[in-house]
Symmetry: C2
Subunit: 468 residues, 2 copies
């Protein structure tokens, strides 16, 4: 019996493995850059490195140039076009000179480039279809001496180059594509998912793509990994991966609980029933007007949207403000008795705070509890105020307190959203400014006006799945 069932178990596992390997072979075929793509990248990268080196050593004999990022480590997936050129200057250079040299080297390397600003200014440009950043930094002995985040990048690069062999690099590519497919790739503040560096560390730590998924399937947050076993801090994040070059930093700090759960969910789904589908990002068709109508009739909620011109911000600034705004508006509605069922904030040229309400209309009166009758001064003031108010019911006594029923300020959610009291809720600063300039409130059927610009987002909203 036990032999039989072992055999059976092994056969099942072998079949699964075959399925899984077949799927991975298909995906590798798609995501592994071929010799041609690798050659073209190397050619451009070498040329840029040489140009940068010449321009850098012209200015500072001690400067050097390194390639960093996924294209430098062989972990990029076919079609990625990012080349990151880091120009390192000695640490005794003052910051101002570093910035001056950095920009000069950048312009020499990318004559068509333009300046952007992160922690330092740097030059960005396009060369033969590749998106190239030329970034200055200090060359330090140890990552603990870093002066800004970019100084850490060469250490990250060094750490991973020492650990990623060709097999692991290939598994990093699979993992990145899997995370893209489920909507969890990227540490931008819209996604709050897994950064490239975090993905590479996880694959190194668990020893491969499949090994990572097998571990993730069983995760119990908080999950803590500390590759260099040097962590000294306590982190509150669901996933903690202590930076191998900085014991005080969690590489996964930005990764949300949702994305940890999403990876866990799809690790289970994929290992249970492997399919290439999981590696394809969802690209929903826009929701049609009749589909929207069907959902609204089916759900019997009251949809309501606040639409305004999106403030001109990068996504990493815009999305946190949109999130703060939808939280504020949700609280503002809930506090007034309008119950929010679910909602989402979306932005393109326009931005929309979209919520469905379970309760959108309320009685003309609201209960207003006064002080306990024994708190004499307050109690008498309250009683006198409302006993003389012809519009108020009561005061009467309940549980030792005065209670009155007075006119409710807003009997519909629309009235509240169209009033100045909307500005009493917590809104992102730039969202508040945008709303002060102009906004419109769309209720029930009026929300069909959103379909033209946000049909895809509305399909995702009305057909929710673990994927994003």
């Amino acid at each position: 019996m036990s032999d039989d069932s072992d055999d059976h178990g092994n056969r099942d596992r072998d079949e699964e493995s075959d399925d899984l390997e077949a799927v991975l072979t298909t995906v590798r075929d798609r995501v592994d850059p071929d010799a041609d793509e690798r050659g073209r990248l190397r050619e451009v990268a070498d040329r840029l490195t040489e140009r940068a080196e010449a321009a850098a050593t012209d200015r500072c004999a001690d400067a050097d140039v390194i390639l960093v990022g996924s294209t430098a480590r062989g972990t990029w997936t076919s079609g990625d076009r990012d080349i990151d050129v880091f120009v390192r200057f000695p640490p005794d250079l003052d910051r101002e000179t570093l910035e001056e040299y950095g920009l000069a080297v950048g312009h020499a390397t990318l004559p068509e480039g333009h300046e952007e600003y992160a922690e330092h200014p740097y030059v960005k440009g396009t060369v033969e279809g590749f998106d190239v950043d030329v970034v200055p930094c200090f060359r330090l002995e140890s990552a603990t001496e870093i002066q800004s985040a970019v100084d850490r990048t060469p250490f990250h690069n060094q750490y991973l180059r020492e650990r990623l062999d060709d097999d692991l690099a290939a598994d990093v590519r699979l993992t990145k594509q899997f995370l893209r497919g489920i909507g969890s790739y990227g540490s931008d503040l819209r996604t709050r998912g897994f950064s490239g560096f975090l993905t590479e560390l996880l694959v190194c730590e668990y020893g491969g793509f499949r090994e990572l998924l097998e571990a993730a399937r069983e995760w119990h947050p908080q999950i803590e990994l500390d590759p260099e076993d040097h962590g000294r801090e306590t982190f509150g994040d669901p996933l903690v991966v202590v930076d191998p070059t900085d014991p005080e930093r969690n590489v996964a700090a930005v990764c949300s609980e949702e994305n940890v759960a999403r990876l866990q969910h799809y690790a289970r789904e994929f290992l249970e029933d492997p399919s290439v589908d999981y590696f394809d990002p969802v690209d929903p068709e826009p929701l049609t007007e009749s589909e929207l109508q069907n959902h609204l009739e089916r759900r019997e909620t009251t949809p309501i949207a606040v639409r305004f011109d999106a403030p001109n911000l990068v996504e990493d600034q815009l999305y946190p403000q949109l999130e703060k705004s939808i939280e504020g508006i949700t609280s503002g509605l809930d506090d007034r008795g309008f119950k929010v069922f679910r909602g989402t904030a979306i932005a393109d040229d326009a931005a929309v705070i979209f919520v469905e309400l379970a309760v959108s209309e309320l009685p003309a009166v609201e209960r207003h509890e006064g002080p306990p009758v024994h708190v004499r001064g307050h109690a008498e003031g309250f009683y006198d105020a409302y006993t003389d108010d012809p519009d108020a019911y009561g005061p009467f006594i309940e549980g030792g307190r005065y209670v009155t029923e007075r006119d409710r300020e807003f009997t519909t959610a629309r009235e509240f959203l169209e009033s100045d009291r909307l500005f009493d809720v917590g809104l992102g600063a730039h969202i508040e400014t945008a709303l002060e300039s102009d906004y419109e409130v769309l209720v029930e059927d009026e929300v069909t006006a959103l379909l033209e610009e946000f049909g895809r987002e509305l399909r995702q909203y009305f057909e929710p799945s673990p994927r994003r």
Copy 2:
């Protein structure tokens, strides 16, 4: 300046006192029994006492008879018709014999009487318009030896007789009438107010009607009085008056927070602006149909009533069960998202749980939160169940948990109240039985059907005041 304002203050106080005294004179005139009434009472009471004594000593040479209650202490208000005759037997008599003798004496004293049952059986009857109870009890040395509540009554009677002079007795009458006027007189479980004994103790303790009101005006619950300074227990009630004959008993245990607050409120109102009105119980006109319609249109709430045949119970059993039932129904509605605004339970031949809803209709879908994704067994079970359910939205992931949106069981409060799930909420036992037999649910305009039987109660509900 200070002399002037002192004078002025005195003059105000004097005028107030004059007003107050004038009011009290009017009320005394009404509540003090005249010589004729006192004479008739004495005559009947003496005759009953003699009859009871003869019948008691016939059976037990050691028995004696005492009059107790307000008519025995001169604290009854004109028109009260209660005569309480207590027949005391020696404590070595066994209980069975006590009950046998007690009933025999009762029937001998009240030939037309009938038996009732409190802690012992006793005989009740009517003699020349007076309601007479003949109650057997043990004659004990001290109140600490009592075997049942009736044994305590002679000690209460003795205690008050020693302390109530004519002036205090007159002030007890005023106080009782004041408490009647504001709706707080009586320790029955419908009123949960001030019992006669409690009222007499309070007047004794504070030294009069006005003194009681002046103290009550400043009360800060918990208020604790311990006339004999022998309390050893800690009580949780808002008003504590330790029984002078039993250190472990709070005479005010049944007195609700509302009634304490109500006395406090009207103490302030009355002392501020004395008027005989406060001594007149409210007797509202029935609410008319057009008035009810006006209130409903004004308030924009949704009234809903559960009407059924009142179970055949004494009020002290019925009202606690009605209260439990309205609390259970309120929780049942609130838990399902139907928000109760205010409500009341009323009973006569029919009984009604009447509530106004702020929210009476909800969407077809409800949010249903599943387990955290990391709780693997539960999480997979939840996901599999709902992902295959064509009527459910999702599951999707929020805050690390699976969430689905599924059909709501009840989208209207009426559906819930008309369903068997009504019996899942906490209902009084006899109310549950009554509802099992039959009930009807009235919504919105249908509640006008209640006006015929409960017009007075509905006026009190829709025109709430501190008074009751």
